[in-house]
């Protein structure tokens, strides 16, 4: 790897997030390198999704900053914020495809709003994205006609519509069967290798973590911060925190 590929594409510094009086994460700092598959994991309710929401600018943090390509999304307003938003794509947990539009329309929507491409070009781009996620031939279907796995893949295709350098995926494998889930892992690896897309994934599916993750951070609800950081296999075998080893070895917690 060259230096250009190891620099940080996302920097999170001293981020404190919460709702109202309740602080969920306190002074969290980490960075994501360009081109890597970065996984955020942790037990249920430890603030994974909240962290993701403040990284993509949906929930303003109580303190701290998130820099994407060097620009702070927390303080950016207007045109600058729009430019930052254009630089990444997000796949929401339930897909969040627009139910009244066909897949093709779902994907061409951002192209229509953000670029001056003619209609034929927009549709050609959308068909290519669908081909990339293995959904050729389904472009005229509406989301409710698709299975859960297909909806998630379509949501990834939509997130990629504007060729963003970063994709955020919120629990992409939740509710999928192992075969479909493995297919999704393969897709993530392909996209990351071929297109050099940086992935930030929130998940707690162990098999996919081992399959795709270059690096993980693990959040903990009790300490409201990061308790482990590193490659998944490393953490499983050598972490000095027993809870982290339990998580990776899928053991139940015996001491209440």
């Amino acid at each position: 790897m060259t230096d250009a590929m190891t620099d940080a594409i996302i920097e999170v510094k001293n981020l404190t997030v919460g709702y109202g009086e309740k602080i969920i994460l306190q002074r969290v700092s980490f960075s994501v390198r360009r081109g890597e598959v970065f996984v955020i994991l942790g037990g249920s309710g430890c603030g994974k999704s909240t962290l993701l929401k403040s990284m993509i600018g949906l929930t303003p943090p109580m303190a701290g900053g998130v820099r994407i390509n060097g620009r702070n999304i927390v303080t950016a307003r207007g045109r600058e914020r729009k430019n930052i938003l254009r630089s990444f794509g997000v796949m929401y947990q339930s897909g969040a495809l627009f139910g009244s539009m066909s897949l093709l329309e779902n994907i061409t929507l951002p192209l229509e709003e953000y670029t001056r491409l003619p209609r034929a070009a927009r549709e050609a781009v959308a068909r290519m994205k669908l081909k990339l996620v293995g959904l050729s031939g389904s472009e005229l279907k509406i989301p409710s006609e698709l299975s859960g796995g297909m909806q998630k893949r379509a949501a990834i295709a939509r997130a990629m519509a504007l060729d963003p350098g970063i994709l955020f995926l919120d629990e992409p494998q939740a509710g999928l069967d192992p075969v479909t889930s493995a297919g999704l892992d393969e897709l993530i690896l392909t996209l990351s290798k071929k297109l050099g897309i940086t992935f930030v994934i929130v998940t707690h599916e162990l098999p996919s973590i081992y399959a795709v993750a270059d690096r993980v951070i693990m959040l903990d609800g009790r300490t409201r911060g990061i308790i482990a950081e590193g490659a998944p296999a490393e953490l499983r075998d050598h972490s000095d925190n027993p809870w982290v080893r339990q998580f990776f070895n899928r053991e139940a917690e015996h001491t209440a």
């Binding site: 670029t115 781009v125 290519m128 071929k194």
Partner: protein, 376 residues
């Protein structure tokens, strides 16, 4: 992604053997491709002998650029020409090889507009289907009500009270406001022509009769349709979409008994009360106009008292209870019939209000005939 990249350009060159060569240079991102698209695709469609694209000057190429190259290839090959792509950088070529022109063929085949007879047939079938499900719903609902009356302890009175609050008590301000304004406006408008004959006092007759017999129940029901019929349709519709109704069914709980009976009974009990509020507010509005015209309050009250009977009022209240039943039942039925996503909930809500108002009008006509025959 390179912000410093040069703008995309297309320059045709003529090769010695007659084949066409197009040189593309610059950054093929969305902006560059948008500027080039028409020119490039036209050139590709016109190429007869064969098309060679020299892409050695391409400095960047994202999804839009790929789409352009593929579209040129597709158009050239569709016109019977051969296509060659030269000099594309390795990192882009790897992605380019992932696709074939067949991947981006527009498929217009599936979206043919149905013909008129097909459309008419489909609509007619939809209407028939709607009527059948409405009849089924009336049956289910009646059965659930009979069961509820047979065993009143099984009705969820707590839910019914909550509905009575939101659909009834919370509607009092708007009912009173509209009633007051309507009484005020109606008596003022009618007082002006009646004044020419010195008959302003009959404004009281007009207002009392029309409010108690007709306008009170009707307007209250229309407000109920807009406020609560739509709310029931949206709430139950969202529950259907979220599979909450399915959850009820698999728990062995009848959604009609559980959700519809409580709502409809509560709303039915509330509508006559709301109508009373409307009537009183309307009469107060009328009294205000009469006072301003110089008539003492007592003569207005006497005139109203003489012109309307208790039967008029009770008939109106009975009508309003019937309207309340119709409006709320149709709202719940539309909600239960919701299929699909967010837009289906919107359709259910619209349909609940529209059908509710139609039912009110039809039912009002029926009541008019029945009351006439009965001599009320």
């Amino acid at each position: 992604m390179d912000s410093s990249a040069d703008t995309a350009r297309l320059s045709p060159k003529n090769a010695p053997d007659g084949a066409q060569v197009l040189a593309i240079t610059g950054n093929l991102d969305a902006t560059g491709v948008a500027a080039l698209w028409d020119q490039a695709t036209n050139a590709a469609a016109r190429s007869r002998g064969g098309l060679t694209v020299d892409a050695s000057g391409v400095s960047g190429c994202d999804g839009a650029g790929m789409a352009l190259l593929l579209e040129m290839r597709r158009l050239a090959e569709a016109g019977g020409a051969s296509f060659r792509l030269d000099g594309l950088q390795e990192r882009f070529a790897a992605l380019y090889d992932q696709f074939s022109p067949a991947d981006i063929v527009p498929s217009d085949a599936g979206v043919r507009k149905p013909s008129l007879p097909v459309e008419v047939g489909r609509k007619a079938y939809g209407l028939l289907d709607d009527i059948v499900s409405l009849v089924a719903f009336v049956g289910e609902f009646s059965l659930a009500v009979v069961k509820a009356l047979g065993n009143p302890r099984r009705v969820r009175w707590k839910d019914a009270l909550a509905v009575a609050e939101t659909a009834g008590a919370n509607a009092v301000p708007i009912i009173v406001l509209i009633g007051f304004l309507m009484g005020l406006i109606m008596s003022f408008q009618s007082a002006m022509p009646l004044r020419q004959f010195g008959a302003e006092i009959f404004v009281a007759n007009l207002l009392g009769l029309s409010l108690l017999r007709e306008l009170g129940p009707l307007v209250t029901a229309i407000i109920l349709a807009g406020r609560s019929g739509s709310a029931f349709a949206a709430e139950i519709g969202t529950m259907t979409v979220n599979e909450e109704i399915s959850a009820l069914v698999t728990m062995g709980l009848d959604p009609v008994r559980f959700l519809v009976v409580t709502r409809v009974l509560a709303a039915m009990a509330m509508t006559p009360l709301l109508t009373m509020f409307f009537n009183i507010a309307g009469l107060i509005g009328g009294a205000l106009v009469m006072l301003s015209l110089g008539y003492p309050l007592v003569s207005f009250i006497n005139q109203v008292h003489m012109s309307v009977t208790l039967g008029d009022m009770l008939g109106g209240l009975f009508k309003s209870a019937a309207f309340g039943l119709l409006v709320c039942a149709i709202g719940c039925q539309r909600g239960l019939r919701t299929r699909g996503g967010a837009s289906a909930v919107g359709n259910a809500t619209t349909s609940a209000v529209v059908s509710g108002i139609i039912l009110i009008a039809v039912c009002d006509g029926v009541f008019a005939v029945v009351f006439y025959v009965l001599g009320w």
